[in-house]
């Protein structure tokens, strides 16, 4: 077997050196009745060629050839080949967590750079080395707020990604945390008046997302004021990191939980992604996850080390800030490389292109009779439109044109049926936007009488 570097004679030699007759002797501590007699019934073994064939076959059974207008937390953005060329280097790909700093300086310096870039993007003071993804980062940010305030209620906007809220629910259920949801207004933003009228007794955090699930940008400074007035912290989730190229960063938020998938990480059917938490310096001891800090050796040479490790599970065990051990390091590195490639000007231009593309698409779609803007608030690259027919129906027709249409948000928001969430990034050619518009126009015209496709 090509992954095993031993010849039969070497195996024999090693068994002799150990002093046993057969390898079976080494498994004697496993009670005989539990030792398998027969090989497992598994597919394979496959050669490299066959493995590739298997996966190529699977790859042809998905959405190749379709144009997708989906976003909702997972975004199609450009990715440079430089990123993969670098993260595929064995010294990055196959290296371990940098607990032994002297031979992990590459990883540690890159983490330090990641932490810095995230602070610069989000307007916060300190960031960690990554969490699993945006949804779990948001949950951990809430738990952090709970520890910091010693309060146990959370006010969360319904405009936060539904699956993010579900994850919080799963974790919060057994930690004695009460969750109350706050609705939204016609602008598509969280209802600030409703929020202000809530009782803030025992409220640890107000949790929002910006741009939110509907693509609308929230009024972060005003929300921070309301939260702080009530003695709570403001936690802001960000699913579309590219928005920070043009949208004002949430500097007034106390804790930011961001998903960095937009920054050089493939959609890959949901993962692996890169979550991160950024916050104020004063909260750093409650920040979960690894942290890389600057340090010096006896000769005065600068290096980097994992630091403040006493927050973490391997030291604090049951009193740790989190149980996180493995994180998303390789893809945080990908995001770091991507951010440095884009640079200041590139990120700005990228964000501006997204703004332009989304606006163009929305304008053209709104020209279709019967199609209306669902919310009035400012958007980045996602928007919700209301249609005269069900989104599921429209999408079924769109598939015939090899278009994957908007996300029907009526399932997650029963009060918002017939509304679709579109995402249009810099990768969407104008011709495809125009094709989408033409298709929808045609679909609405031909199904206008209420007939549905059988």
């Amino acid at each position: 077997m090509r992954y095993l570097p031993k010849s039969p004679s070497e195996r024999r030699g090693m068994l002799d050196a150990i002093g046993v007759a057969t390898v079976e002797d080494l498994f004697k501590t496993i009670p005989e009745k539990f030792r398998l007699r027969d090989p497992l019934k598994l597919p394979g073994p496959l050669s490299e060629t066959e493995i590739i064939q298997y996966f190529q076959a699977r790859a042809s059974e998905n959405s190749r050839g379709y144009t997708s207008f989906l976003g909702a937390g997972v975004y199609n953005h450009l990715r440079s080949v430089v990123t993969d060329a670098l993260i595929q280097r064995g010294e990055f790909l196959t290296s371990y967590t940098p607990y032994q700093a002297e031979i992990s300086q590459g990883t540690l310096e890159a983490i330090f750079e990641f932490q810095t870039l995230i602070c610069q993007l989000t307007g916060q003071e300190v960031a960690n080395a990554s969490m699993y993804d945006g949804s779990t980062a948001l949950t951990e940010a809430v738990l952090m707020a709970e520890r910091l305030t010693s309060r146990h209620t959370v006010l969360i906007a319904r405009t936060v990604h539904p699956e993010y809220r579900q994850v919080l629910q799963t974790y919060a259920k057994h930690l004695g945390i009460t969750i109350r949801e706050i609705g939204f207004t016609a602008s598509g933003q969280v209802d600030r008046a409703a929020l202000t009228s809530e009782s803030f007794n025992d409220v640890a955090a107000v949790v929002v997302q910006s741009p939110n699930f509907f693509g609308v940008i929230e009024e972060i400074p005003e929300l921070a004021e309301v939260a702080h007035a009530g003695g709570a912290l403001l936690v802001d989730g960000i699913t579309e990191a590219v928005s920070l190229g043009i949208v004002r960063p949430p500097a007034e938020a106390d804790i930011v939980a961001m998903e960095c998938q937009s920054l050089g990480v493939a959609p890959s059917y949901g993962g692996p992604y890169v979550g991160v938490i950024a916050t104020r310096d004063k909260f750093v001891r409650q920040l979960p996850g690894r942290l890389a800090g600057q340090a010096f050796d006896a000769e005065g040479r600068r290096g980097f080390v994992l630091t403040l490790a006493t927050r973490e599970q391997h030291i604090r065990r049951e009193k740790a800030t989190s149980n996180i051990c493995t994180n998303e390091a390789l893809f945080a590195l990908a995001a770091t490389i991507h951010m440095t490639l884009l640079g200041k000007a590139g990120l700005r231009e990228l964000a501006e292109q997204n703004l332009a593309k989304a606006r163009f698409a929305r304008t053209e779609l709104e020209k279709i009779p019967g199609v209306r803007r669902a919310f009035s608030g400012p958007i980045f690259n996602e928007f919700v439109l209301e249609f005269p027919r069900s989104i599921k129906l429209i999408n079924r027709w769109l598939l015939d044109d090899k278009i994957i249409g908007p996300l029907a948000i009526g399932t997650a928001y029963p009060d918002l049926s017939k509304r679709g969430l579109f995402c249009v990034t810099e990768t969407m050619p104008r011709a495809e936007i125009e094709r989408l518009v033409a298709s929808i126009k045609r679909i609405l015209e031909t199904t206008g009488s209420g007939e549905s496709k059988s």
Binding site: R285, A309, T310, I315, R316, K319
Partner: protein, 132 residues
């Protein structure tokens, strides 16, 4: 080595009683076991503590130690100098590295703890255990 006017707990905390005020810290043995202190978490002034209750934690790079109050009382002062200079706990565990001062609930309580001689013997026995 261990001040004669202090009393000592099994968890390696010391208390110095002066009238109805108690000063609490950790012993030289405790600081050497812990290693270089990097951070100290102390209670707020006004906190009511019972004997055996946790005061907070002391962190080194590789470990965290819970500190237990050897006597009962109300916190009247905390050693603010420790936030900038946590190393005082290593350098002056019995003087400059004090942790909190208490208004003692029961000034007689401390006499139930070990005196300097008993604590020295206790620590010597522990040291032998470790090198065995």
């Amino acid at each position: 080595m261990y001040p004669a006017d202090f009393r000592y707990s099994k968890e390696h905390e010391w208390v110095k009683v002066e009238g109805s005020t108690g000063t609490v810290g950790i012993t030289d043995y405790a600081q050497s076991e812990l290693g270089d202190v990097v951070f100290v978490e102390l209670p707020k002034i006004g906190t009511q503590l019972k004997a055996g209750q946790s005061i907070g934690t002391i962190e080194s790079v590789k470990a965290v130690s819970e500190v237990y109050c050897p006597v009962s009382g109300e916190v009247t002062a905390v050693n603010d100098a420790l936030s900038n200079s946590p190393e005082k706990i290593n350098q002056e565990p019995h003087t400059g590295g004090w942790l909190i001062k208490l208004k003692l609930a029961n000034p007689g309580e401390a006499s139930a703890l070990m005196d300097a001689a008993a604590y020295t013997a206790y620590v010597d026995a522990k040291a032998k255990e470790h090198s065995a």
